[in-house]
Amino acid sequence: MDIMIIHRQDDVIHFLVEGIDVAFANALRRTMLTRVPAMAIDEVLVLENTSVMYDEILAHRLGLIPLITDLESYNLPQDCDCEGKGCSLCQCTLTLEKESGSEDVVVYSGDLVSQDPKVNPSTGEIPLVKLAPNQRLIIEAYARLGTGLENAKFQPVSTVAYKYVPIVEVDKDKCTKCEACVEVCPKKIFVIDKDTLATQNTLDCTMCELCVQECEPGAITIGSKNDAFLFKVESSGALAPEAIVENAADTLKKRIRVSLDFVGKL
């Protein structure tokens, strides 16, 4: 197995894995989506809401805010000693108080004040509701860990996808250097270099095969490797993207161990 990180920036990681099959790639993808825990607001106490937005809709909007997750300090409610009743080991309280004076005011996710400095909205720029003059909002919200299996708001990823590694081949004998492919390729894979057709950044190829259609002499073939995958993991901001991948591998390992223990006893 060979893993290479191609690109890593803020909340996104692109990496290439060689020597795995589709089943494993898909198991990983599904694990990242549904089994890696992340924090989200799950219960909201509305003390005062004179805005035009219904309490329920406001609560829903609060639930969808991605929170920076600290997996070390919090337990999943079902694994917690309090048996899911809610204690400081499995719950974090956030409060929101905002009043508009004589002007309109927009309430942002950044207005939430967390009891735990480590658990905060990943961005403070999400608008929640607009308050007209003399309207007020006092809210207490309880965040907890959960998994994407229960509700998509607990997903730590906004995108997790994989694709086959493309192989772009040009038959130099057939190529007439008409440059039709250079024009048509949306990813600018083809270049004319010193009078011959060359390829660049072939990993970007989306396999749309427009070049194959355009190429009159039929010099271009697009294929793919079947044991290598390009992963793209985009975090919601809850966890670092590489932490999501590592956690997914750990979670998958744990599940395999449980079934192995069970089968061992048969």
């Binding site: 893993i3 894995v17 494993f24 591998a249 079934s259 192995l260 048969l266």
Partner: protein, 99 residues
């Protein structure tokens, strides 16, 4: 993950993996099929809303290989691969931050 035996015979095994999904079951099925002694391996999810897939594995009688042994070996293989992946990811991440 809550496994439960549905049917057990020497050469055939049916296990229900409660709370599991395609991710795990398809991986298990593919890994089982790598073993030449396996005659049939598959899984069934009765309804898309239910999370209780039933994995079936049947080995060839001529191979004299017990289904439970083959299943255990497949799971061990999966565990080893996942561990390798975990290790390689760690390595790749630390290599990348050095660059």
């Amino acid at each position: 993950m809550k496994p439960r035996v549905i049917e057990q015979e020497r050469y055939e095994l049916k296990i229900e993996f409660q709370e599991e999904d395609h991710g795990f079951c398809n991986l298990l099925r593919k890994t089982l099929l790598e073993e030449p002694a396996v005659e049939f391996a598959g899984y069934n999810i009765d309804h898309p809303l239910l999370a209780s897939p039933i994995v079936t594995v049947r080995t060839k009688k001529s191979s004299k290989r017990q289904a439970k042994v083959v299943l255990r070996e497949a799971l061990e293989k999966m565990l080893a691969r996942t561990e390798e992946f975990r290790k390689d990811v760690n390595q790749a991440v630390s290599d990348y931050s050095v660059d």
